[in-house]
């Protein structure tokens, strides 16, 4: 017979505190973004929600946030597409052919090392490259940095997925007359779709999040992204709480969507280098 225990009570109590600590800043930000300035100052819990902060943020006459959103979307989508192509081809090659350990080790070691280095290391060289290619202050410059930063995670996730596919499947396709390219695109890629979804989603969200590269490789709304816009806004007008909150909450939406719909797939990518696949 199981004896009554108060342990679950304390356990869930503590974990609920952790949940509250995690969610309070998000709710507070959401609430602030929906408040008129006078409601922010009064600090009252009851207020009539308003979208005026979001309207101001996205009004082209008052702010360039719309342009920054477009830039962020282009950079995130472009990075995702390019990273997916490069990473899935490389992961395919490295996982399904007998590479000498020296070569595969060199490649995988390099991308793991990029993942470890502080991005600030790349600033100087990337700045000069962007200038010499005449792409400084464009989305292309930011994308160049994002591709490097996002290749490691994507390659690693896809390596895991490719490694799980039995060799026989590919051999069967080739006995049936398919060449390597056909067996890759028609047999293997469909199987690893969840991996592609996970790697793609992470690449999208990480380039959407990134701040440092966009900050140093752009100088005007031509190439700037949402995080740079928010940072500029926060440091310039530290008093416009409503719009600050609206910007921050808007920037979080892709993250919240991912947590809601794709969390199963992304944990592996987030803990790259820690979990053996």
């Amino acid at each position: 017979m199981k004896k009554f225990s108060i342990e679950p009570f304390f356990r869930h109590g503590f974990l609920m505190l952790v949940v509250a600590f995690t969610l309070i800043p998000i709710f507070f930000t959401l609430a602030t973004s929906l408040k008129l300035f006078r409601d922010i100052i009064s600090g009252s819990l009851w207020f009539t929600p308003t979208l005026v902060n979001y309207q101001r943020l996205f009004d082209p006459a008052q702010s360039n946030f719309l342009r920054l959103t477009a830039n962020s979307l282009v950079i995130a989508a472009g990075t995702m597409a390019i990273v997916l192509v490069i990473a899935s081809l490389a992961a395919y090659s490295l996982s399904r052919f007998p590479w000498r350990p020296l070569w595969s080790g060199l490649l995988l070691g390099t991308i793991l090392f990029i993942h470890m280095l502080p991005p600030v290391t790349f600033l100087g060289p990337f700045y000069l490259i962007a200038r010499s290619l005449n792409i400084y202050d464009t989305v292309l410059a930011v994308m160049m940095g994002q591709i490097v930063l996002n290749l490691p995670t994507a390659t690693w996730i896809l390596l895991d997925f490719f490694a799980d596919i039995p060799k026989e499947l590919e051999e069967a396709a080739m006995v049936d007359g398919a060449n390597r390219f056909q067996s890759l695109t028609q047999v293997l890629i469909p199987i690893i779709q969840p991996g592609i979804a996970a790697a793609g989603a992470l690449a999208f969200i990480f380039s959407w999040r990134d701040f440092l590269f966009a900050l140093t490789l752009t100088s005007t709304p031509r190439g700037m992204t949402i995080p740079v816009g928010i940072a500029g806004f926060v440091t310039e007008y530290s008093i416009r709480y409503g719009e600050m909150a609206a910007g921050a909450f808007f920037a979080m939406i892709p993250a919240l969507l991912m947590v809601a719909f794709a969390q199963r797939y992304i944990i592996k990518g987030l803990t790259l280098g820690a979990l053996k696949g």
């Binding site: 356990r11 974990l15 952790v18 949940v19 600590f21 995690t22 969610l23 309070i24 800043p25 507070f28 930000t29 602030t32 100052i41 192509v85 490069i86 081809l89 395919y92 090659s93 052919f97 490649l107 990029i114 502080p118 600030v120 290391t121 600033l123 100087g124 060289p125 700045y127 000069l128 490259i129 200038r131 591709i147 390597r180 390219f181 890759l184 999040r209 701040f211 440092l212 140093t216 949402i226 995080p227 928010i230 940072a231 926060v234 440091t235 600050m244 921050a248 920037a251 979080m252 892709p254 993250a255 991912m258 947590v259 969390q263 944990i267 987030l270 803990t271 280098g273 820690a274 979990l275």
Partner: protein
């Protein structure tokens, strides 16, 4: 006559297209890895060489042209005399040690508790995933709102329970670093939680059961079975977190900008200031190179340690 011998003739040489297809097929291994190699050469190897070159040069932009002047080890001398370098290194070290120690402890407790929960564990996992995906700039903004002296959540809550002399948090030289550390706990504890939880879940349960049958208390199971088995996972988690903690930039940039004074000036922030604020490209590159060397030493050390633990 010819036609009757057709079957014994060698097969017709394959067409050019077929031969090309065949060639691609045999070398497919190299074609598929080529894009990655090209990107690594152009965007990693070449920039690394540039970084080395920049760190021994003065680099300036004059009328849109990049002007190089080799100065040898001048930047090393500058760095040794630069008073902000030791301050930034010390702040970084304090920050890294504080967040790694506290986050390890918190994540260990949380993951053990979640792994014992059959109910609500989905909720805990979901909520704890959020901080890892939110843009760090949004995190900084959120916490600026939380810490705001007049209208922030924290000070309003303090006033509600009767504390009138509320602190200024990020503007207070003594509280700035702890405030920044708290934000990092919000952001990164989940990372260690995910790793440790995965470690806990891959553990054989039979050992625990056997110990319990033998009369071991829950505490003894934890102390003598779970924690020792978790050791390799913990080492990996701590080392990865340490390496990543050196990257800290976005949140501090937004919360304090390194201040007040130099209270939260960490090394990434200082390198950025030298690069962007003072536009000393050569010196910034030298400092960045130094930071990479420190990280590399850590990575090598970590791999050794990881191999021994495994």
């Amino acid at each position: 006559m010819q036609s009757s011998l057709d079957s014994s003739l060698p097969p017709k040489p394959p067409s050019l297209v077929a031969r090309f297809g065949n060639f691609v097929d045999r070398t497919f291994q190299y074609w598929t890895v080529a894009p990655l190699v090209i990107v690594l050469l152009l965007l990693v190897a070449y920039p690394t060489l540039q970084l080395l070159r920049m760190s021994v040069s003065e680099v300036d932009i004059v009328k849109g042209e990049v002007v190089w002047e080799v100065v040898g080890l001048k930047h090393l001398e500058t760095a040794l005399q630069d008073q902000l370098v030791p301050i930034a290194l010390q702040n970084t070290l304090v920050f890294v040690v504080a967040v790694v120690v506290i986050e390890t402890f918190l994540a260990l407790v949380i993951s053990i508790l979640v792994s014992r929960s059959k109910h609500l564990d989905g909720l805990y996992r979901t909520v704890l995933l959020i901080p890892l995906l939110v843009p760090p700039i949004a995190i900084g903004t959120m916490w600026r709102l939380m810490y705001d002296y007049n209208y922030g959540f924290i000070n309003q809550a303090l006033k509600l329970i009767g504390i009138v002399a509320v602190p200024t948090w990020t503007a207070n030289p003594q509280l700035a670093m702890p405030s920044v550390v708290l934000v990092d706990l919000w952001h990164w504890t989940s990372f260690m939680f995910l790793i440790i939880l995965a470690g806990l879940e891959s553990m054989p349960q039979e050992v625990n059961e056997a110990a319990r049958v033998d009369g071991a208390s829950e505490f003894q199971v934890l102390r003598f079975i779970t924690l020792p088995l978790l050791r390799p996972t913990l080492i990996t988690a701590i080392m990865l977190r340490t390496i990543f903690a050196f990257k800290v930039f976005d949140e501090i940039f937004l919360l304090t900008g390194g201040g007040p004074g130099t209270a939260t000036e960490v090394i990434s922030l200082y390198i950025y200031e030298v690069f962007s604020g003072q536009f000393r490209l050569g010196y910034a590159s030298f400092l960045a190179l130094g930071l990479s060397v420190i990280i590399s030493v850590f990575v090598i050390f970590y791999r050794r340690l990881g191999r021994r633990a495994a």
